[in-house]
Amino acid sequence: MNKTGIFYSFNSKKTAKAAEKIIEEFGADFKIVPVNAEELTEELFLSFTNLILGVPTWFDGELPNYWDEFVPALEDLDLKGKTIAIYGLGNQVEYPENFGDAVGTMVNLVKQRGAKVIGSTTIEGYTYESSKAELDGKFVGLLLDQETQPRLSKERIANWVADLKTQFK
């Protein structure tokens, strides 16, 4: 098995909690290395083959500072051969115009650098107006809404991880 890492801010609360759930869902047999996205370097990022990125949407559809500050570095990386799955927290009620936009933004960035993006999910069960994370009737990653649909997160994570397990090599 190639090296798999999950990248999220260790200072975050909900995104970190979701990371813990994802790791738990993968189970002990599937080793996943937690990486603090706030201390990310290009070398660290490239040292993994399978990457799970925790990218919450801030404010009106923005990347969090720690990801945004990594973007100029990311733009110079060759991500061919990398398999990346992205999850992110959003609020579909208070921010319906840009629900989970940061997930879509990050997917586009890594795709442009040659990464294979996996882990698309259904848009059913969500109510929002627009989202950069939506492509061809599906979300390009896992969107979690801990503000308005916290009870659905467990099942959504379980389904998503089951899908990732089949695709990570």
Binding site: F59, D60, N65, D68, E69, P72, Y95, E97, N98
Partner: protein, 680 residues
């Protein structure tokens, strides 16, 4: 979503540019953080709206501004924008602590309202977003004179809830004007969250239906995204001449101002989140992370900024305070002074002309005399129609649609863009029909009031050179909104001349003086007299009437009637009737209400002793109340009886003719009142 080309990035932007930005941001933030201390030490800066969290977009707005070419209107949170436009730390502090040498207003206007008028950084009021109309107005001049420049209106997102902002954007869209609306969205209007302002979180998208308007969204907390957005906005406005709106998402790291406490309505989590978002900290991290600056270089710049601030602080503290004895300066600029018709009278003989003809011919003459004259209003120019009463008939045909044109049905827009356009050049003179009828003028009151204190507020640096024409008064069976007077309310506001002629020659002479003068003049036209033969007079071609000079229309010994507008003629008729009964009545036509010719009034009272004040507006708090008070204070000992006032009742003006007869003054009511006074 509109995307913009990436011109600026952390990796490619030259180091000296990155350094310039960092110095501005560091010094700006240091001042922003120091400002509350001035209040704590009772030095000043009692109004301070911290900008922290808006750093990226404020830097970018200032960086694309070209001084003395572009025009910019800042709002009260634009400290860094002002510095990025070129204001020094000392100049910022001079404004903050309201010194006499404050560039914006010399301490007359609220702190944190930055301006540098010679550079086209305009002085704006505190009414959120009302300078949007001024930006559109000045952009109209930029377009007319063919200059390669833009007007920039900077404001918070809550200002988009204001109706006049809609009017401004609609106008820029319709007229295809090079305006950049830079919207700094921090999610709050003081304590009011955006969801209580509008249904659309992306407030700029409320305007997606406007033609010719490009909308760009950016992260206003990020220097590079903000720079790219503003760079593209200016490029687009210059290349196409079309308006652009940039919505920059910001975060308010502190309370709205020093009179607000955001902990009352923002959770601790949200406030922490706002601090984490700090754009300056992010920019600093980027400079180091991408090896553009070392930590040592950063610290050195920060230390230099501290020294610069300390020196600016010392210099600003030594600056003189304003002299309060200058409070009467700059209420109004000196008007044009007629040299030939010094007292505004003449002895010309010949053919009489109607009042409407007088106005029309004077407008044409002045437009021929000065190529930098413009006129707009509702119903102003459509083929053979020229104004609701045809006062401006033929002007568009002669002077073209770029100088004489229709305005939307938006009174505030009409006045506000006049104010804005006159900022472009001192030589410009604007005439507007403020509304179809005088009492439709109320929607324009915010711009009227704002314009009234421009000259005072800017310490004499700017005055709108605008003549507002209003068809006023009743006797046409128009009722509410068509037959009322509003001058009683307007005369309480300093900073505008108000004239109200009764005869054709005075109308021509006052209009010419108004157009030739600096400053704002409210020109009230008694519309019932437009075509009335009794208002027709002989008019010298070059006739001028000075402001503040009344005209005695009939001499008398027993009673003096002080009046203006429609009631001048009624007073003259009553005087004529009384003369046949053996009473000699003098009639003073004030012509100007502001300034008021107290000398003529008092001289007549001293000679005659009995006085009536007559006008069409309401007796209750009408302008007659002011005249009467002046008489009581300055001529009481010359009075033989109480001052008698005649005017309309304290009611609206009714539509049916019988209501009008009951409510408005007329010759018979004046005659009866005069009999009482004469018999006292």
């Amino acid at each position: 979503m509109d995307t913009v080309p990436i011109v600026f990035s952390i990796k490619t932007t030259p180091k000296e540019t990155l350094e310039k930005w960092f110095r501005l941001m560091t010094l700006g933030r240091a001042i922003d953080e120091k400002a509350p201390n001035y209040l704590k030490q009772a030095i000043g800066w009692s109004y301070h709206a911290p900008y922290a969290g808006h750093d990226g977009i404020q830097l970018a707005i200032g960086q694309i501004f070209e001084k003395e070419v572009d025009h910019i209107f800042l709002y009260y949170r634009d400290l860094l924008t002002a510095m990025s436009c070129g204001l020094t730390a000392e100049e910022i502090i001079l404004n903050g602590i309201s010194k006499a040498t404050d560039l914006s207003s010399g301490g007359r206007h609220m702190s944190n309202h930055f301006a540098k008028i010679p550079w086209n950084i305009h002085n704006v009021s505190s009414l959120t977003g009302n300078h949007t109309l001024h930006a559109v107005g000045v952009a109209r001049a930029i377009k007319y004179y063919g200059q390669k420049a833009v007007a920039i209106s900077v404001q918070g997102e809550s200002s988009l809830s204001e109706g006049f902002v809609y009017e401004a954007i609609n106008g820029a869209s319709k007229e295809k004007l090079p305006v950049i609306f830079a919207i700094q969205d921090n999610g709050y209007g003081i304590s009011v969250p955006k969801k209580d302002q509008t249904a659309n979180r992306k407030v700029a998208n409320n305007f997606t239906g406007f033609k010719n308007l490009r909308i760009i969204h950016c992260n206003g907390k990020d220097v590079f995204e903000s720079m790219n957005a503003m760079h593209e906005a200016k490029k687009h406005a210059l290349e196409t001449g079309m308006p652009v709106m940039v919505q920059a998402n910001c975060i308010r790291m502190h309370s709205h101002s020093n009179s607000d406490r955001h902990e009352l309505y923002r959770s601790e989590e949200e406030r922490n989140y706002a601090q984490e978002y700090d754009p300056l900290a992010k920019y600093k991290r980027m400079l180091v992370r991408y090896n553009r600056f070392t930590n040592e270089e950063i610290i050195a710049i920060e230390n230099e900024s501290k020294i610069e601030l300390k020196e600016a602080h010392k210099k600003a503290l030594k600056a003189p305070d304003p002299d309060p004895n200058t409070y009467l300066d700059f209420v109004l600029p000196e008007p044009h002074k007629p040299l030939k018709y010094v007292d505004g009278t003449h002895h010309e003989e010949g053919e009489k002309k109607k009042l409407i003809t007088a106005l029309n011919e004077t407008l044409k003459a002045e437009f021929r005399n000065n190529p930098d004259t413009f006129m707009w209003g509702q119903d102003m120019a459509n083929k053979d129609k020229g104004g609701i009463f045809n006062v401006s008939k033929g002007l568009q045909q002669e002077f073209g649609p770029k100088r004489v044109f229709n305005a939307p049905i938006a009174e505030d827009f009409i006045v506000g863009t006049a104010n804005g356009m006159s900022r472009y050049d001192e030589k410009i003179r604007i005439v507007i029909e403020g509304a179809e009828f005088a009492d439709y003028f109320w929607p324009a009151m915010e711009q009227y009031v704002d314009s009234s204190h421009d000259f005072w507020r800017s310490n004499g640096q700017f005055t709108p050179n605008v003549t507002i024409r209003l068809a006023s008064g009743g006797y046409i069976g128009g009722g509410i909104y068509h037959s009322q007077n509003i001058e009683g309310a307007l005369t309480s506001i300093p900073g505008v001349r108000i004239v109200y002629p009764s005869f054709a020659d005075d109308a021509a002479g006052l209009l010419r003086t108004a157009i030739r003068s600096r400053g704002m003049t409210m020109f009230m036209e008694p519309k019932a007299l437009y075509n009335d033969p009794k208002a027709a007079t002989v008019i010298p071609d070059d006739f001028e009437v000075p402001f503040g000079k009344a005209r005695i229309r009939r001499n008398g010994e027993d009673l003096v009637m002080i009046t203006y507008g429609n009631t001048t003629h009624m007073c003259l008729e009553a005087a004529e009737k009384l003369s046949k009964e053996g009473s000699s009545v003098e009639v003073i036509d004030l012509r100007s209400l502001v300034p008021l010719d107290k000398e003529t009034i008092l001289n007549s009272i001293k000679r005659i002793g009995k006085v009536m004040v007559v006008h069409e507006d309401k007796v209750h708090s009408g302008f007659g109340a002011e005249i009467t008070s002046v008489i009581m204070e300055e001529a009481f000992e010359y009075l033989d009886c109480p001052v008698k006032r005649v005017g309309s009742s304290f009611t609206p003006v009714g539509f049916h003719r019988s209501f009008e007869r009951m409510i408005l003054p007329n010759t018979e009511k004046i005659y009866i009142a005069a009999k009482e006074v004469l018999a006292y």
